[in-house]
Symmetry: C2
């Protein structure tokens, strides 16, 4: 799913735009797939496919913004480059706030589109590799038995075996056994490794949540 599974999905109801955009991207070396509507596109199986979406803002049935929301809910997260004929400011701002890579007004230059698509690819690659890493860690984490997980949590917060034993109400000896198994199952060469894994497994989901909730700090 690595190299050639990187596609630019072009979604526009105007055949001439689809054609010209697709050609432009193909000439630049991108693989493309075109869709007439967002609904069509969303029906396509996108599992384990990387790349990005060039999405027209004004589509029948499902608008660009709605498609963006739907896309954000599904896996894998494909960055969006919007293109729009008579784009208005609020729409473009909304799109950018929702994480779009760029918002190009037609007519746009080839350089602008290619630049945006490249940026989208880069973003997708980052997102992808960080997700891959996290899935890897989570997978190993799920292979831990409940008790091992208990020990894991305590250990990565810096507790000594003795302290872990006290909190869990077991012998220090037992903690050692669990701990050794944790290190094995997590493929951690050292405690430092384990701590780093714990960090990623957390910061990952936090990062996704960050930004939206209106917390306490926004009060005047």
């Amino acid at each position: 799913m690595d190299q050639d599974e990187r596609v630019v999905f072009v979604v526009d109801d105007d055949p001439s735009v689809r054609k010209s955009v697709a050609r432009l991207l193909q000439v630049a070396g991108f693989r493309t797939e075109t869709f007439v509507s967002a609904v069509d596109f969303l029906e396509r199986d996108r599992d384990s496919i990387g790349g990005c979406v060039v999405l027209d803002m004004h589509l029948p049935e499902l608008s660009g913004l709605d498609a963006q929301v739907k896309l954000a809910e599904s896996q894998p997260l494909l960055p969006i480059v919007f293109i729009s004929g008579y784009g208005d400011v609020p729409t473009s701002v909304q799109a950018m706030k929702a994480g779009a890579v760029d918002f190009l007004s037609k007519p746009f230059s080839a350089e602008d589109l290619l630049g945006a698509v490249r940026e989208a690819f880069a973003r997708n690659a980052r997102e992808r590799s960080s997700r891959f890493e996290m899935d890897e860690i989570r997978g190993r984490l799920s292979a831990l038995t409940p008790r091992e997980y208990d020990v894991f949590r305590e250990v990565v917060t810096g507790q000594l075996n003795k302290q872990v034993a006290a909190t869990l109400g077991i012998r220090e000896k037992t903690v050692k056994v669990h701990r050794a198994r944790v290190m094995q199952k997590m493929s951690a060469a050292s405690l430092a490794d384990l701590v780093r894994m714990a960090e990623r497994a957390n910061t990952g989901s936090d990062a996704l949540r960050a930004g939206s909730p209106v917390s306490e700090e926004c009060r005047p």
Copy 2:
């Protein structure tokens, strides 16, 4: 610099806008300061002040976008809420790409402005606390002697004292001494703590850089 040092800086060349925006924010409980031009604002001493900026896009001398760039170069990083009379799409997109919180077209509703300012405050608070934490760590880090720093780097990658001694060409005994001092100076209660500090000290500057550079992954 905590509670009351949170100000909304309102920058607009139109007196009536300044007045109404300031009043609106004050009624909502925000402290405000108004400026006629971006140049004026940039001259103000903003050290250790939190809050955000409500910035008009169309200003004489220095435009909103230019002011945004200048502001991004200086400390502290104040989130920007743009307001614009006849905003065009490319400008708004550019502003959002450069990290603006929102881009409101005049006339805008009180709710929209207040919502944006609250979001900006929240973002500022997050940025601030993470920066504070990082400064704290960096400060301690800079208190380490060169040798201690060497040991620190090796230790947080999970090397055993023996291995550290080998790479540095010193006795394991000496490593232990340095290591102990590192733990003290960094106020780390455990190796896990130390590793986490090392992570933050790194991810911090990385996070700021991320997003802009066009790396290798963007090729088709």
